[in-house]
Symmetry: C2
Subunit: 485 residues, 2 copies
């Protein structure tokens, strides 16, 4: 087969590549530095979408052409979450240092799935730091994953197999009675996904009503558990929320910890962003009880503003963490020396094996900035949410639709008509215009059947004047839509 | 709380940051350019490991100090898979263009989990290109994941729920009889992991013996299926290998496709690296039948040498792909316009939601190099494996332990003593010395109970002289160890 000379993907000229890299760095840093001056978001034009339906290229167009395509079809149409006025869903902002750390990650291109190399040791340190951030004991287990969804999956898998250690060998059907788990109706859909994927089934997840502040109703939870036990169901886990996606509500985690101990249930906390409130001495009381959980899932690309993607799951019981994921593999022969051995084996702690060294950026940025700065930024976002809530509260044409315990503000344009579908429709249109005019990107949600414009602040670039602008433009556009009606 | 001025993670001086970024680019490109001159791998010294057990930093040390730590504790101790003589496990090499694309990915820092933005459209194109590469129909579904392990998990989840669509709602226990799946004993451990995680249980995976060429024994497979049916088990899936991890063996995929159609079973192909043999007209006959599979899992960070991490799963039936992962989520409100809507919704196609824009590098590099170049590089690695096999075959002191159908060579130092534990011990020590002397990183495996040094070539930097060097040094070190004995 060797009828052509050996070739590689390295550049024909390293000097030319280096010059291209320097131009690219300048261009992208300029782009990032100027982000505030651009619209937060703009739609992808149909001709650009059409250009993204080309056949697989047979011949190479070269480095310059590939970057020209990037400039034409990608760079102008990002999601917008690096912009100071992006507050949709829960998205982090990233940072210039984070991007440079990702370049280093990709130059090293080390497979961080295990082995005697720096990567697993660095990630072990990152996990130890995560435990320290959340008040978890040093002897707990943990692993870095792509985000909160996989973190929830790993934790609930561990809970399932701790409940009945035969399941990973013999399957869910081995458990006498249906294993059931509980979470409030405000819980993130990744918990539903985990129940489906783990073979428990969607119905095994009991959706417990929330109270007026969108926290789990503890009495309803106790009744549900008792009812299931009476009916032959087998409760095994309660998922508490440290910051719901809709409103940032925080369940009474101390009460859940007590209940789980009393009932002999695994206590998992979904703290995708809210868990990190623990970094602030002032906010920490909000998540009190979280440190007593059996497991915590949270993201570092949200409220630590790390580049996508990196999340973490911490699990108190090491053996329970490993049980779902430990399988024999003859080709991974373990010697006492050489490149293979390592005490920290991420492959036995989650669904992945080969993977990116996603802990490097976390390790470097925590050293660069120090955790006190992250605590201040989290407090800053919470203060900004309170500030926005105040602006909404003071404005006669706006109203809050939920309490603001953390960093999420749900509001709507009140208009002059009655509550009902027309007002929902007005606010849906208002949300879209706020996005389409490039003003800001909030997202929308339904709260008690009413449509809310939802501002979730996990953004280190936001300033108070950004919220002044949002309110001014929301009122202006609300009036505009009302006038059209 | 706003008793300190608003701050951000952006640099105090963009000019200083830019200068730092340029120095870093120069340093890292020099590092990469010089990789051939360094040892492939070296152990992490105990004092460096000790330095990676520091408490969470309270105050920031600044950008320069953070990079100094990187230079001290990380850069000298990578896994080694960017080096021309790294052939351990199955690891890709990455590339300079790939690293630069990752920098762009992290500057954009777009959350590629969905939405009306460039990222999902780019990834949809990448998936269409993946279908074209493997001969899959354009109407098939697919999603980019972190790697082969998650790709296998997604495919087997789809197979499970296609077998009994009630499972995602009601759990595995709803299926009357135990759902069972089949794969050869040479199959990757991620398939075991998937069986455990999906609630089927490890025992649901029947390990079918392999033949002398390490391919699944078709007669044994048919007997196993018939036996399970007779015993009330419920066969639902066969996993075929397009390139086993141990030896690169390729199951008779056309025969498996026939068998699965006859038996009404889902046919999944684990083609982590081997699926990409389809890129080469000369190698494509080896994987004939793969294009008839219900699903294919494969990696792009292995034999397409993309930076970690990116894998892909293709699933013929769109509805089957979505079934395990589609859950309602009120906070993800869908409007007809604005930032939210998108036809390609990766969150309903796998366990992740928020995540990195991992398709960007693939899209850019396929345009830069063209697929024909990747096909040549794959052929080059296969030719190198044949070349190494020839060297081993010709050398009296070495012997091959398995056929070399693709890019993996399993051999050992034969020595002068008899077969048995002593010879295994000699070869284990030989493997470690090859690694510790910085010569090369092969890995080890067991084949029919005998220890083999295993060279898996998914490396665009390897040259023929690298294999000459490996053989010369293996013989020299083999003699050295024998003499000590």
């Amino acid at each position: 087969m060797a009828d052509h000379p050996e070739e590689s993907l390295d550049p024909a000229s390293w000097d030319d590549f280096r010059a291209h890299a320097h131009r690219t760095v300048d261009e992208l840093l300029d782009w990032l530095r100027g982000v505030r001056e651009r619209p937060v978001w703009q739609p992808v034009p149909e001709e650009v979408r059409a250009g993204l339906r080309r056949p697989l290229p047979e011949a190479g167009a070269g480095l310059a052409a590939s970057w020209d395509e990037f400039r034409r079809s990608v760079l102008p149409y990002p999601w917008g979450n690096v912009h100071p006025r992006f507050w949709g869903w829960v998205n982090g902002t990233g940072s210039p240092s984070g991007a440079l750390a990702e370049f280093a990650t990709a130059v090293l291109n080390t497979n961080a799935g295990g082995g005697h190399q720096a990567a697993p040791y660095v990630e072990e340190q990152v996990i130890d730091w995560c435990k320290a951030m959340l008040g978890f004991p040093p002897e707990a287990s943990g692993v870095l994953v792509t985000g909160g969804s996989v973190a929830n999956l790993v934790a609930i898998a561990a809970a399932r197999d701790a409940f009945d250690p035969r399941i990973s060998e013999e399957g869910v059907a081995v458990a006498a009675g249906t294993p059931v788990l509980y979470a409030s109706a405000q819980t993130h859909s990744s918990v539903d996904k985990a129940a489906r994927l783990l073979g428990l089934g969607q119905r095994a997840l009991r959706s417990v009503p929330a109270d007026a502040e969108f926290r789990i109703d503890l009495a309803a939870l106790e009744r549900a558990i008792a009812g299931d036990r009476a009916a032959g169901g087998r409760p095994f886990c309660v998922v508490g929320n440290a910051g719901t996606v809709n409103t940032g509500a925080i369940d009474d985690l101390a009460a859940l910890a007590d209940l789980c101990r009393r009932e002999g249930l695994w206590f998992h906390v979904d703290g995708a962003f809210g868990a990190l409130a623990a970094l602030s001495g002032r906010l920490r009381p909000l998540v009190a009880g979280m440190e007593r959980a059996d497991s915590i899932a949270f993201d570092l690309h949200k409220w630590l503003y790390m580049p996508y993607d990196v999340g973490c799951v911490l699990i108190r019981d090491r053996a329970a963490h490993q049980r779902p994921f430990t399988v024999p593999a003859s080709y991974l022969s373990r010697e006492a020396r050489g490149a293979a051995p390592n005490d920290h084996d991420p492959g036995s702690l989650g669904p992945e094996l080969s993977r990116e060294f996603r802990g490097l950026k976390v390790w470097m940025l925590l050293q660069e900035h120090g955790i006190a700065k992250y605590a201040r930024l989290i407090e800053q976002n919470v203060a900004q949410a309170a500030y926005l809530a105040g602006l909404v509260h003071q404005h006669a044409e706006l109203e809050l639709l939920a309490p603001v315990p953390l960093n999420i503000v749900c509001f709507r344009y009140r208009g002059t008509g009655p509550d009902g579908p027309a007002l929902d429709a007005l606010n849906r249109e208002l949300l879209i215009r706020i996005q389409e005019r490039g003003v800001a990107v909030p997202s929308g949600t339904l709260l008690n059947g009413r449509f809310a414009i939802r501002v979730a602040i996990a953004n280190h670039r936001s300033r108070r004047e950004d919220f002044d602008l949002l309110v001014a433009r929301a009122v202006e556009l609300g009036r505009e839509i009302s006038a059209e009606g």
